[in-house]
Every structure is written in C-alpha cells, then in structure tokens.
C-alpha cells in the first residue's frame, strides 16, 4: 500500500514543483528523491509485511510478497531510469515538473495493477497507467510525429479500454453471484459458460493490446518510434511489464482453472508475437524502431508465463520484468545520447566511447540471453516453466528458435560499435558526464550480478 499512496502524493508534489520553483533542475532532484522514498518504503513493507497506511479497501487490493516484489522491481527500474535519463527528461520541453508528475501517476497505476483484487481496480489501474502515457507520448509538441503517435496511441488505447469494459461487464453478468472480485469468478473446470467465455476473450484481446502482443501490436512501432526517446524507454519497459503482471494475475486467479481451454489461444498469440517481433526487427535500420520490435519479441517470451501458468512462471515473470527493464532502460539511455539513431550511427562507438560501447554490449547480450546476464536467467526460468507445463512441448522449441533469430539484430549493433569505422567525427549529441558513465557501469554490474545470483530477485519465495 505504501507504493500506491506515496507515488500518488509525490505526483501531486511534482506537479506543484513546476509552479513554485523556477529552477529547471529542482524537479529532477525532487523526482529522484521521491522515487527513492517510494522504493525504500515499499522495501520496508516487503520486509515487514506491514504498510504505513491503514486504509480499509474492502479487500479490493491485496499485497503479498509476490506483488510487492514486483512493485519493488518497477520502482527500482524507475529509480535507475531517473538516474540515467532524468537530465534528458528535462531537455524534452518546458514543463519538466509535469513530466515527472505524470510518471509518478503512471507508477501509481502500476502499483494498482500489481495489487488489484477486483476487475474494477484492474480497470482503474490500467487507465491511470495509460492516460499519462498518452500525454507523455505527445510531449514533444512541435514534432509532428510525436503528435501523430500520441493521437494514434490515444485512439487505439480508448478502443481497447472499451473492449476491456465490455469484457468486465460480461463477466460481471456471467458470474453466479454477480461479483467483480477475481477470486470469485467461479468458472469451474468444466465447459465455460458462454458469458464468461466471451468476457474472457474480450479481456484477453484488450490485455494483449496493452502488452503489444500480436496481432494487436500495430500501434507499438509507430508510438515507440514517434514518442520522445526518453519516454519510449519508460513505456516500453516498466509500463509494459506491469501490463504483463496484471495480465498474468488476472488469468491465473480468474480463469486459472480453465487453463487448458484458453491455452491454445495463448499459443497462437505467443507464436504470432514471436514471429512478427523477431522477423520484423531483423529488417530495421533505425535502432529505436528495432528496439520497438524487440520489445514485441520479448513480449512473446513473456507470454510463455501465461502459457505455463505455474510457480516457475511466476518467478520467471519477475526475473523477466527486472532483466528486460534494466537492459532496455540502459540501451535507451545510450541511444538518447546518439546523434544518429540508425545502426550506422553506432559505427565506431567503441573507439570514441569505450565505456558506452562496453555497457551497451552487456545490455544487448542480456537481451539476447547469454549466460552470466539476468537476460539468460529470465529466459531460462521461462523455458523451465514452459517445459514443466508438460503439454504442447513444441511451443518451447519454436520459442528458442526465435530467440536465436533475436541474436541477429542485437548483434548487428555490437558489430557496428566494435568492428566498423565511424562515419562521422562526433557520434554523440552531447558530452558524456562521468556520473552518467558510472551509472551505466552500475547497471551493467547489476545485470551480471543478478545473472549469477537471481535469488536477489526471486528470494521472496525462499525466505
């Protein structure tokens, strides 16, 4: 509960910081302070099990070590994101305080998505998470593509929200005692009632849209490409994995007993997502767009958690959230500094900026899933979950073949950085400060440390 309340309060504080403080850099430090407080408060709650705030939520929200760990991952990733890229948030436009305020509201939505117990709270969480993102996408006001992306995202988002509401309505009508509580949707193990089946299908479609799973992914490349890079970094990582967390929790609690009935649909979505994400990413020239497709491809791997829906899948989801977020936030932080976003723009980076190139290599290796990085551990857990699941073994084989394809586009960047000569004198927009470099190295070290000791993240289960 700490995280929900603190992020909401701090969002308001940030909003007013823009009004009362004229200096441009104050909001940045306030934001870092705020996220650090929220992270620590959440850590204390995870450790002791007690929240600082006692509010009667009538069981509509519930915390346990599993979802508190997820919130810790989300807040921790945001903290790292702020430390790496807060200066670039400042550079986006005039309304610095508001940008940070919106990010805090998103985090409030993320926390709701992690702890919801009723479909209404899920809906509120998803909406709180999405609406600030529409604004952030369009925050580069004078850029036509940013505007286009925002409008596109907004229209598609509204559409999927409508579908989701429709689904909730069906389920509400279909449950015997008309309840919003996800544990009360007594779907049983037999044949699914028609109303619930329709409701579940609609929920699946709308959640697939939120996590950009194929064939509901069409908005993703354009929106990620059009939005200011610094916000793409945020929404393709923390927000996306929060969507996944909500997705998995919903289908596990509400429809877990009917797993085998909808597993086939998830298989279709998973394979389609892996196929489209990986194959299209291969042909991209712009690294930003490549990362957009790579985020679709990684979503395909995360969908294996829904395919398997067991203990290992839950652990894998946490590891994947952390691994994917850390590596992607890191690679975006490097990307923002580049003059030219195409792969050619990375040529010869290793010579000019060895630290940037080396850390970027670690991030890319982690995304590929090379051992010693957390990216490997997350893929390993997902595969273990999927194999343990027992049925439809071939899906696992297909998934790893696509993982092998992903090596192609991640390694193209590494090749450009290390083995090619630079095309222009300066590759970077601005000078790289030493704290930024230190921060990048810290992230790379974290990726390797978690890759060796994943207990740091999934330890909640073994205490």
């Amino acid at each position: 509960m700490n995280a929900i309340i603190l992020t909401a309060i701090w969002g308001v504080v940030m909003m007013f910081s823009g009004v009362f403080v004229k200096s441009k850099s104050v909001p940045k430090y306030l934001a870092i302070l705020g996220i650090a407080i929220a992270f620590i408060a959440n850590g204390i709650e995870l450790n002791s099990g007690n929240s600082w705030f006692t509010i009667n939520v009538h069981g509509m929200l519930a915390t346990n070590s599993f979802n508190l760990t997820f919130i810790a991952i989300a807040l921790g990733s945001t903290l790292i994101y702020f430390l790496l890229s807060a200066a670039d948030v400042e550079r986006t436009g005039k309304h610095v305080g508001e940008y940070f305020a919106l990010i805090f509201f998103v985090l409030c939505g993320v926390s709701l998505c992690a702890t919801y117990k009723t479909l209404l709270m899920l809906f509120i969480g998803i909406e709180i998470m999405s609406i600030p993102l529409y604004i952030l996408t369009g925050s580069d006001k004078r850029n036509l593509r940013s505007n286009e992306a925002a409008l596109k995202y907004f229209l598609m988002g509204c559409f999927s929200t409508g579908i989701m509401l429709m689904g909730i309505a069906f389920i509400y009508g279909g449950t015997p005692n008309a309840s919003f509580f996800i544990d009360n949707i007594q779907a049983g193990t037999g044949k699914m009632p028609v109303m619930i089946a329709i409701g579940m299908l609609l929920l699946m479609v709308s959640m697939s849209f939120k996590v950009s799973a194929a064939p509901f992914h069409f908005w993703t490349p354009d929106v990620y490409d059009g939005a200011p890079t610094v916000f793409t970094s945020f929404m393709s990582t923390i927000v996306k994995v929060a969507g996944f967390f909500a997705f998995v929790r919903l289908f596990e609690s509400a429809f877990g007993t009917m797993h085998l009935q909808w597993q086939k649909l998830i298989i279709i979505i998973t394979i389609a997502t892996l196929l489209i994400g990986n194959v299209t990413a291969v042909f991209q020239q712009s690294v930003k767009r490549m990362l957009a497709y790579s985020s679709i491809a990684q979503a395909g791997f995360m969908l294996l958690a829904l395919f398997a829906l067991n203990d290992k899948a839950r652990e894998g989801l946490l590891l994947y959230s952390a691994g994917y977020s850390l590596a992607t936030v890191g690679i975006f932080a490097v990307l923002i500094k580049m003059e030219d976003y195409t792969i050619d723009g990375f040529k010869g980076l290793a010579k000019q900026q060895p630290v940037l190139a080396l850390t970027a290599t670690v991030f890319l290796l982690s995304l590929t899933g090379i051992p010693l990085t957390i990216g490997f551990q997350s893929k390993f857990y997902m595969l273990m979950a999927a194999v343990e699941n027992g049925s439809n073994f071939w899906v696992v084989i297909v998934a790893v073949l696509f993982a092998a394809i992903s090596a192609y586009y991640y390694f193209r960047v590494i090749q450009a950085m290390y083995f090619k000569e630079p095309t222009q004198e300066t590759l970077l927009v601005s000078n790289i400060s030493t704290p930024f470099k230190i921060m990048l190295v810290i992230v790379a070290v974290l990726i390797i440390a978690f890759g060796i000791y994943p207990e740091f993240i999934i330890g909640w289960k073994y205490h």
Partner: protein
Amino acid sequence: MLGTYFTFPELMIWLPLVAGILCFFTKKESAAKSIAIIFSLLALAVSVTSLFYTADKFSSYNNVNYYWMKYLGNSLNIGMDGTGRILTLLTTLSFPIIFIATSGRSYKNAPAFYGLMLLTQAGLTGVFVSVDALLFYFCWELALVPVYFLCSKWGGEKAIPTTFKFFVYTFTGSLLMLIGIIYVYLHTPARMFEDHTQVAHSFSLTAFYNANLSATEQNWLFWLFFIAFAIKMPVFPFHTWQPDTYDQSPTSVTMVLSGIMVKMGLFGVIRWLIPVFPLATANYSHLVMILAIIGIVYASCIALVQDNLKKLVAYSSIAHIGLMCASLFAMNEVSVQGMMIQMFNHGINIIGLWIVVEMIERQTGVKTISQLGGIAGKAPVLTIMLLIIALANIALPLTNAFTGEFLMFSGLYTFNPVYAAFAGLGIILAAAYTLNMIQKIFYGEANIITADVKDIAWNEKLVLGVIVCIIFVVGVYPQPLIELTKSAVNMLVSKVH
C-alpha cells in the same frame, strides 16, 4: 593448502581468468604478451602437476562443490575425471604453444586480444571440468563469446559475416540443448544437500545419469543434445560454418577453434550425451556413424581439390573429427580408447600445422597453394618440421596419431567392417592431399612470392620442436595417455552395455 583452499581445476580456471582481466588493464603489447605467456605456462604447470594426483585419495585436490542457486538443486560442482584431465591438459598445453608461436606477430589493440584469448581459455577449461549441467551450459556459451569478438575484430575482410554465421549456428544448437537440459532436469530424482535441505530436482551429473527417462523421451532428447554437439564438432551436415570461419579467423584463434574447441563437441557427447541417453545412443549409433563417415569421405574429397591452404587444413580437420565421432559411437573399449588419445593428438598436430600455415601466410601474404612453391630451399628446418607434423597428421607409424587411429580402426572394424572400410578411405585420401600440398608448397621452383621466405625464428623452433617431441614420444610410448583415460573409457562403455 591444496584441497582446502584451492583445487587443481579451480586454479586452472582462475589463472587465465585473472590474467585475462589483467590484460585489459595493460597499455603495452609486450606487457599483455608476457602476462599471457606467464599465466598460461603457470596453468600448464598446474595441469601437469595434477596428473600426479589422480588417485582416489587425492579426490579433495580435484573436486570441489559450492552452493549456487541451491533452490534449483544446483551447485558449482567442479571435478576432473580421465576425459576432463586429458582435455584440460590439451587446453593448458595448447595456449602457451599458441602464444609463443605467434609472439612474433603484432596485433592492433593487443591487450584486448590477449585478454579475450585468456578468457577463452578459462571458458574452455570450465567446460571440461564442470560436473553440473547448468554450469556446463554457462561455460559452453561463455567460451563462445570471446571467440566471437576475437574472430570478428582481428579476422580477415569477410570475418564479420562469417563469424556471425558461426555464432548463430552454435547459439541455436546450444539453445536446443538448453531445452534438453531443462527437460532432463525435471525428470531427475530429488537431491538432499549436506545441510538437509531437500530439493525436487538437481542439475548434478549423477542426477542426470539417474534421470527417469523412457525410451521415447530419450530418443528425441538425444537429438536436442546431439545437434548442439554436432554443430560444434562439426559433423556432416552441420559443418558448413567451419571452413569459412577457419579461413577468416586470425590464425591463433583458428588454432584454438580447431585444436580445442571442436573437442568440446566430442567431450559433450562423452559426458552429457551417451551416459545420459544410453538407450537412444544404441538406437541411433548407426545413423550418427553413417553421417560421420559421409563427412570423412566428403571432406577428404574437397580437401583433395582445395587450393586454399587454410581451407585445406579445415577440411582435413572435419575428416579427422568425423573419424573420432564414428569410433566414439562404435562404443567398444578399443575404439573409445583410441578416440580419447586421438583427441589429444589431433589437437597437438593440427596446432602444429596451423603454426606452419601461419608462418607461410605471414611471410608471403598468400594462402593459395598454386601460387607457392620452392620453400624447401629457403627454409629447410621449417620443411622438416612440417613434414613430420604432416606425416603425423596422416597417422604414419611411430607418430602419435598412429596409435589412436589404429585403435579406432580396429574398434570400428569389430563394430562393422563396412564402416571401417569407408572410413579407411579417409586415410588414403589424407595421404594424397597432404603429400600433394607439401609437394606444391615446398618443392619445385621458388617464385617471386616465395623468394624472400626466411627460415623459422627461435620461438617457432622452440614450439615446433616441442610439438615434434610430443609426436615422437607419444608415438613410441602412448601408455601414459592410455592409463590416464582408461577408467573413464571403461565407465563410459559400461554405461551402454
């Protein structure tokens, strides 16, 4: 000291690892080079010392077990058996040879080059000593990453796409193997740790040997593992990455690839494939042997018409590995024993060949056989050395390869005379293309390209001398190598029969 704080295999991993990291922090080429040579010699010393402590009572010197991801029933379990010993010996012996032989060559950004080479050594050693499936997988992949950078950065003009092909091939194979590992893991018996924590499954080697797998499961799991190993070896039809990669890589990396890295595939079969899936091995041994024998004949035929010196050696290597693979799957004591010592001998011989090839290429800038000629008059010592190594390569009696190939062929013959006959074609063809190559390069008239060839320098004399010594000593007295691997061979064969 030893046994309580350090064990031999740990030292053999840590020495190159530390040295590799040290190299990255040096500025001068000479410093990096001396670090590489000194530490690789130290590792060799450790490896040789360990050969005197093989008895059971020294088990604490050779085996070690740390907790790591315990909740998965996993541990950092390192140990050496006969197979591990002979391959770590090959690894620790090859690296100083490679470093000294190529020390005349100057590399761009040398500290990084030597650093990556030493990291490769650490990874390779890790593969040969890990007794835990997940640790094995880690090292298997990690040995590949530095090699990827080495080949791409310091290779020929087409090195980047070629190396990437190699990387994707092996990466795909490893991922398939990873699924296999996970599947076997989920069928292993429960494991009780020393502190009485119980976990449902385990990655340890013994657990894998006791995994509860039906014959049908073994049948398809066999292929998930085998494809990974077949790509690494490489066995026909998974070999297409190899000639290009050998051709494009810097020669010192090619030595690592062909001398040691291909043994990873054979080692994987010995430790992780045959004993884990004995039923499937019996089932598919004919198929694998036929593939391997096709590979022998096919690669030898291509080598016969090959005009590129480096590719010729590459194809000859495919043929040799094919023979080793075939005799491994013949699964009788004689053939497996021959294959064990041949792994070592082939590594030594092929590195010797590459040293000579590198020297010719460096001095003339040419690797096309038809453009060379008459080197014997300019470099007599080099010629003699090469002749001995080449004769070892075609397994003439008194050379090291003879013992191995003789055992392999007699084992193959007891398994199936027809297979032995076809595999025997490989020897005849090997003699043809090797002697043909020597004739064209070393004899005849010297031309403009070969006019300025100088004889070998002291460092090359030293390493080639060492190699020639090993060739003769092992050729005359192979008993120590056989003793070293005998128990491992017996254990492996007993798993299947």
